[in-house]
Structures are given as C-alpha cells and as structure tokens.
C-alpha cells in the first residue's frame, strides 16, 4: 500500500514537472485566457487609418480575441520595435498595415519565423512568401477611374498639380501610375508640379501653398489621398482659388465625401477600409483554426465617388459593401 502511495506521489510530481516544462515555451494568453491578435498600423495621425485599425481590432474582438493596436508612426524602426514587442508578448497573429513596401518585409519575415502569421491590410509588401495573405485596395484601377473622370470634368486641356504620397509605399506609385495611364494620353493636360506631401494634410497645405505661388494658373489638383486633398483644398480656400481649381482625392474619407456632396471637391476613390480590416481579422481567425490556403494578394475594388452617386457613400464605405 505504502509502495502504491509512493508511486502515486511520484506520478503526481512527474506530471506537475512535465506540465511546468510544457508551459515554459508558451507565451501568456490575453485577458480571460483569450488569444491575442495585434493590429500594427502605419500611422494613427490620419482618420482613415484610425478607422482601419479600430475596425480590425473590433472584428478580432467580435471573433473572441483580445486585440491591441500598435502605431508605427510612419517609422519602420518603430514598426520593427512593435513587432519585436508583440512577438515576445505572445500575440498569435498580426493584422498589419505596413509602412514601407520593401523595408517592412523583414518585420513580416521575423514574425513568420516566430510562427506568427501576418495579414497585410491596404498596403502591400514586395514579397509573396512572407505574409499569410495581403488584402489590398486596387489603387491602380481606382485611379484609372479617377483619371477618366478627371478628363471628363477638367477637359482635355489644362494645367494640373499632382500631390503624391510616401515615396516607399507601393500605393503611391500605383495611384500615380493608374492616374497617368489615362491623363498622359491627353497631351493638352499639362502637369505643372508633382510633389510628395507624404499622405499628410499639413504637409499638403504647405506644398500646395508653395506650388500656387509658382504656378498661379492651375485648373486641377490630383491628390493620392484624401488627407492631402483636404490640405490642398484648404490652401486653395486661403488663396481664394477654391472655386476655380478642381480637387480630386483618394480614400473615401468622410470629410471629403461630405465636401463632394457640397460640390467643393470633385471626386474621390472609395477604398473600403472596413471591408479590408474585417477580412484580415476573419482570415487570421481562420488561420488560427487551421486553414492555411489563402489568396496571397486579394485586391479590393475601389469605387469612384462623385456628386452623382455621393448619396450611396459615407462612413468610410458604401450602403452595400463589396463582396466576391
């Protein structure tokens, strides 16, 4: 009997030891034992990205995860530090809006090596073997449509300005290429200035003010996002030219959609940040439940918003969201 009791005691000690050993390699779960999903966003200094991050976080929470938003402040070093921290903290998946198409690849690879899947949202990384999936706005097509509407409304002759986004971001180049694939076919449309304002409203205001001083005879401004469209519009109001110069944006931000309805901004491209963010959260959930096959790059259509259809849009989306 004593022998059996001792054997039982040893068995309990061994089981406890094994359990302790097994738990050494595991990272802490979140509140209430829920698994943790990180949302890493390039910047929160732009309402559009706030909507993107908060929607991703909200959908992850609805799916039963603890979700936290990390702000990279448009700085790849800060982004790296965020990745290191969240991997160490035991996050199970990352919903990621990259800062730079090339520089962010290393961070995604770091997470992959640590066994943490990354789902890119809105912005692309230039690699097909790092992220689990990339859910991206079809910026090129969206700007083709904007380019066509630009020609329809400005005409085939005139002077225009282009405000570009962050130099390292593929969206910057795709939007510019889509727009120019149309507008460059009309030799009467002359680009008098093309400058980057880093997708930033304040910078766009400053850049546009300088451009207007050097080029007072401008008919239109094409901006690679709505924050810059708002900055450019502000500069035009200050210069008393807001009624003469047509402003085009891209994003579908609420303030720009409202100005389109008021006839102050001509058009924007609705990007559906909520659709992209929700899809990324749902993909992460599916991954954590065992699914591994995802389309590497899933484009999400961008829709042209003008005075003719503006009533169909608002709150960073449309009355009916795009589906497959």
């Amino acid at each position: 009997m004593r022998f059996l009791r001792r054997q039982f005691l040893w068995a309990v000690i061994a089981a406890t030891g094994l359990a302790a050993l097994a738990s050494c390699g595991r990272k802490p779960a979140g509140e209430g034992g829920r698994e943790k999903i990180a949302v890493v966003v390039s910047t929160l200094n732009n309402p559009w990205f706030v909507v993107l991050a908060e929607t991703a976080k909200g959908r992850a929470q609805e799916l039963g995860y603890e979700a936290t938003v990390f702000d990279s402040q448009n700085d790849t070093a800060k982004e790296t530090s965020n990745f290191e921290d969240l991997i160490a903290a035991g996050y199970k998946a990352i919903l990621f809006n990259p800062t730079d198409a090339d520089a962010s690849i290393a961070n995604v690879r770091m997470a992959k090596e640590a066994g943490v899947p990354v789902f890119c949202i809105d912005r692309e990384i230039n690699a097909n073997d790092a992220a689990a999936s990339q859910i991206l706005s079809d910026s090129y097509s969206g700007c083709v449509d904007l380019g066509k509407y630009f020609v329809d409304t400005v005409g085939e002759n005139g002077n225009y300005v282009e405000l570009m986004g962050l130099v390292g971001d593929n969206n910057t180049r795709n939007r510019s290429q889509g727009f120019h694939s149309v507008v460059d076919r009309y030799p009467g449309l002359k680009m008098v200035a093309q400058q980057s304002a880093d997708f930033d409203r304040t910078k766009a205001l400053d850049v546009m003010e300088s451009i207007l001083q050097a080029n007072p005879d401008v008919d239109a401004v094409f901006c690679a996002n709505d924050a810059m469209a708002m900055g450019a519009y502000q500069a035009l109001v200050a210069a008393g030219k807001d009624k003469d110069v047509k402003v085009f944006g891209f994003d579908g931000a609420d303030d720009v959609v409202k100005l389109i309805a008021e006839g102050k901004i001509v058009a924007t491209g609705m990007q559906f940040p909520k659709t992209m963010a929700k899809t990324a959260a749902e993909y992460a959930d599916q991954w954590l439940k065992g699914k591994r096959e995802f389309q590497q790059k899933l484009p999400v259509a961008v829709e042209l918003v003008t005075k003719d259809n503006v009533s169909d849009y608002g709150d960073y989306g449309a009355k009916s969201e795009p589906t497959r």
Partner: protein
C-alpha cells in the same frame, strides 16, 4: 620634402583610382528602387509570351455573348456566378465572351453589333477608342496577382495588354468595319451597374474576323 611629395602622390593616385573605380554610388532611394524594379520585370516580354502561349489558346473557352447577355438580363446573380470573374472583392464582374453578329453602327469610339438578324439595335459596343484599366488582364482569369511580388508589375501587364490591342487589333477593325458587315469576335467586358453596363455591353476586342 620627399615624404610630402610621396604622400601627395599617393593621395592623387588613390583619388584617381576611386574616381574611376568608386567603392559605392549614392543615388536617390526612389531612383534606386525604380531601377531595381525596372530591371527585374519586362512587361512587354511577359505579355508577348502570355498572348501567344495562354491567351490565344483560351479564345475557345470564352462564353457565348448572347447567352451571357440573356443571363445578365434575366438573372444577374446567376450571370455573375456562372460567367463573371473578379480578381478579388468588388461589385464589378468581368466577362470573357465570343460571338458573331452584324455591324449596325460605327463611330469614333465603338462599333455597334447586333447579335440577332432581326434588325434590332446594338446589343454590343465593341470598343475602338483609348483603352484603360485591367479588364483584359482580369477577365480571363489567366493572370493572377499572386504571380507578382510587386503589384506595379501586375499593373504594367494591363498597360501592355491595352497597348497591344490598341496597336494591333483596333487599327484593322476600324479600317474594315462597315455597317451591314458580318463580324466574329472574342473579347472582354466589365459590368458594375445593371442594366446600364449591359445595354449595350461594352466589349474590348481581342480577336475579330469579318465573314
């Protein structure tokens, strides 16, 4: 004095050496990236090979235009599922179609085609103006974004496909198109809003024959 001359000579020699064989070049980041990407992908070569090896053999798989039009009119949901394609999420569907009919109108931007012989109006408008966007690239489902690590290359494929149609298909089509002529075609169409986008269906031609 000799040491000074020797030092100066060494410096001059080293400067000359590094002038002609620099250890590194400083270039703007954007330029460096653009050059790297340019070097890595040649859209013209890709599309030339794609057109011959994949697109042309797939012409036989295009759906019958009259059937697609009837489905778009009678049951748009089924038409989207059965005949439509899209690269990702969105309201727009792309259709890869073939058919034959009679030319009923010709203008600067399109050739109107009736698929029936009852003398009714144009059910199709074969595009002959400037071409933009991804309709050709995405309508067949033969080019996938997953093939490209950089979406700019994927988009360059569209630009090149549009250029080939504009320079090789459209000139002959515009030259030969006359009201009353019988025409066979293979092409691609984009539909977002119904019934607007299907009355008539705007078709970008990939292949045309006059009977």
């Amino acid at each position: 004095m000799n040491r000074l001359v020797a030092t100066l000579s060494t410096l001059v020699a080293a400067s000359a050496l590094f002038w002609f064989f620099p250890l590194f070049h400083v270039v703007p980041r954007g330029t460096a990236l653009a050059e790297k990407q340019q070097a890595a992908f040649n859209a013209a070569e890709y599309v030339k090979a794609f057109w011959t090896a994949k697109l042309t053999p797939a012409f036989g798989e295009a759906a019958d235009a009259a059937t697609v039009l009837a489905a778009l009119r009678d049951d748009p949901k089924q038409a989207r599922t059965k005949f439509g394609r899209s690269a990702g999420l969105g309201r727009t569907k792309l259709y890869f179609v073939h058919g034959s009919g009679q030319i009923v109108s010709v203008d600067d931007k399109a050739i109107g085609v009736s698929l029936t012989s009852d003398g009714s109006g144009a059910e199709l408008a074969i595009q002959t103006g400037l071409l933009f966007g991804n309709t050709i690239r995405d309508a067949t489902g033969l080019v996938r974004g997953d093939e490209f690590s950089n979406s700019q290359h994927f988009n360059e494929v569209s630009t090149e496909l549009n250029r080939i149609v504009e320079t090789t298909i459209l000139p002959r089509l515009k030259r030969q198109a006359k009201v009353g002529a019988a025409i066979e075609f293979v092409g691609c169409a984009e539909v977002t809003n119904l019934p607007r986008d299907a009355t008539p269906l705007q078709v970008i031609p990939l292949d045309v024959k006059f009977q």
